[in-house]
Amino acid sequence: MSDLLQSLNPGTPPDARSYVERAEIDASLRAPVLLFFGTGVAWLLLGSLLGVLAAFKMSFPHLLDSADWLTFGRVRPAHLNIMVYGWASAVGIGVGIWLMARLCRVAPRHRGLLIGAGIAWNLGVLAGTIGILAGQSRSIEWLEFPGWATPILFVAYALIGVWGVIMFRFRRPGHVYVSQWYLLAAFLWFPWLYATANTLLIWQPVQGSVVGAVNWWYGHNVLGLWFTPIGLASAYYMIPKVLGRPIHSYYLSILGFWSLALFYSWNGMHHLIGGPFPAWMISASVVASVMMFIPVITVAINHHATMRGHFHYLKWSPTLRFTVVGAMTYTIVSLQGSLMAIPSLNNLTHFTDYTIGHAHLGLYGFFTMTMFGAMYYIVPRLVGWEWPSAAMIRWHFWLAASGVALMVGSLTLGGFLQGLELNDPQVAFLTSLKTVAPFRFVRACSGILLSAAHLVFAVLFIRMLLRQGGPRAEATLLSPPEIPAV
C-alpha cells in the first residue's frame, strides 16, 4: 500500500524506475486516449450547437422549422445522444483507460484493440445520429439510436470492457486503489445495461408498459453506474494526486462504493411516479433514491477531508479546480436528486423543466467538469507539452461554470413555477407555458455561454496537439502562486 501511496504523491521524488514505467504507459496509450478525447471534443461542439438550437426553438418555434430533420423532436434527441455517447462516454472511456493503466502500473497490451474500438465507437455515434435526424428514432429516451447503429456501439464497447478486465487481471501486484474499483465496476455494468436495454427495447421489444420500466432502469443507471463511477474514479485520483496527500479514509471509500452499487441501481423508477406499474416498484426506487444520501455524503466527507486546509490550491491548479467543482456538484446534484424522489416534491417537478435542470447539473456540472479536470492533467502527459495559455483555461472555466449555473438556475426556478401551475386544476395549460417562457429564453442564452466555453477548450486542445505556445519548464497554472507550494 505504501508503495502506491508513494507513487500517488508528487511530493516524493519518483525513482528512475517509476519515471520509465509511467513514460512507457503514457506512450503506449497516447494514440487511443487522444483518439477518444479528440473525437469527444468534436462531438461536444456539435452537440452544443444542436442543444442551443433546440433550446431556442422553444422560444421561437418557427426557427428552422421547414425541414423535417431539423424539427425539435429530432434535434433534441440528437443533442442528448451526441452528448451522452459521443462526448461524455468517449471522454469517460479515455480517462478510464488511462487511469486503469496508470493504477495497474503495467504498460497496456493490445493497444490496437482500443484504437479499433475508438474508431468503431465513433462510427456508431455517427450512424445513430444520422438515424435520428433521418427519422429512425423510436423515441425511447436515452436509447434513440436506431437498432442498426447500436450493435456497432456495443461491439466497440465490448472491446474496451474486455481490455479493462484484462488490464486489471494483469496489474502489478499490490494494493488496489479505490478508483480501480469504480472503473472495474463501470466496465462491467455498462455492457450489462446496454445489452439488456437494447435487447428488450430495440431488438426484441417487450410489451407495453414494461418498456417504461426497462427504459428508466437503463436511463438512470447510465448516469449512476456508468458516468458516476468514472467521474468518482477520476476525482479520487486527481484530488490526492494534485495535493500530494492520501485520501482521507480507506473505510469511507469502501462504504461509499458498495452503497452506491446497491442503492443507485434501484433508482430509475422514480421517473415514473404514478405510472402504470405496481406501487412497490416506484416505492422501492423512491426509498433507494433517498438512501443515496449514504454513498453521497460518504464520498463528500472523504473528498472534503482530503481537501481540508488546501482549498487555496484551487487558485492555481486547473485540474484541481475543475475536479473539485465537479465533485462538489456531485454532492449537490445527488442530494437534490434524493429530495426530488420524495413523492411531494417529485409530483411538483415531474413533467417540468426542473428535471431537465437536474439532468444538466449532473451530466455537466458534475461529470463534464470532472472530465475537463482530468483532461487538463492527462493530455500534457500524453503530448509531452504544457497547456499553452493560462488565460484560455480561465476563460474556459468561468464560461463553463457561469453557463451551467445560469442554465440550472433558470430551469430550476422556471420548472418549479411551471409545476405549481401544471398541478393546479384552476390554471389553464397555456398559462404554464407563458410562465416558463422567459426562463426558457435565459436557458437558451446560457447554452451560448457553454458553447463558447467548449470552443475555447477545443482551440486549446488543438493548440496543445500542435505544441504551440513555447516550451514550459513547469505545469501551466491558473495564476502564479503567491507563496511557494509546500
Binding site: T71, Q207, S209
Partner: protein, 210 residues
Amino acid sequence: MNKLPLLFVGILLVFSTSWIGLVAYPYLKLGRLAPEASRDGLVPPPLTASAIGGERVYAANGCIYCHSQQVRPAWLSTDIEKGWGPRQTVARDYIRESPPFLGTMRTGPDLTNIDVRRPDRVWHYQHLYEPGTVTPGSIMPSFRFLFKVQPIKDRPSFEAVAVHGPHAPPRGYEVVPTQDARDLVAYLLSLKHNYPLPEAGDPPAADAGK
C-alpha cells in the same frame, strides 16, 4: 478489496438485484397482458394499420419530448381534475403500443385521451400544419413537412386542409396531407382510454374525459 474474484462477483451480484427487481419482475408480471373483453369489444381496441404507421411518425418526430401519455391516480396528482382522463392509466392500456409513449415532459398537454377532447380530424391537420392558427399561444413547431402544398387542379382535393391567415398557401394552391400526416392523425384519434378496466378503479362518469 484486493481480490479480483471478490470484486467481480460483488459488483455483478449487487447489480443483479436491480435487474431482477426492475427488469425481470415487470417483464414476468406485466409483459404478457391480453386485451379485456367488454360490451364494446376488446379494450383497448387494436390499432389500425394506418394508426400503427402513425405511431412510427409520432416516434420519428419526437412528440414524446413534450407530450406525455399517462394519467396518474387521483390520490397522487390532479391529472383527473385537470381533465387528462377519467381514470388513471394502467399497464393494460399500453399493450398495443410498441413502444408506449409514457413521456416525462408536459411542455404540451397530455395526449392519453386526445381523441375524446379533439375528435375532429380537420382540427388535427390544421394544428399540425400551423399550431398557432387553432391554438394561439402554442409553442408547438409547425409540421408543414408532413403536408404538400400543390397547385389546385380542376377543383380542390377532397382532403385539402383549410389554412387561413399569414400561413395560408398562395392563391391557386392547396395544402394536402401526406400519408405520414394521415397516419399520424389516425394514431392520435386512436388515443382514447376512457373505457373501464377492472384494475383501474372506479368506472368513468358519464362526461368522462371532458
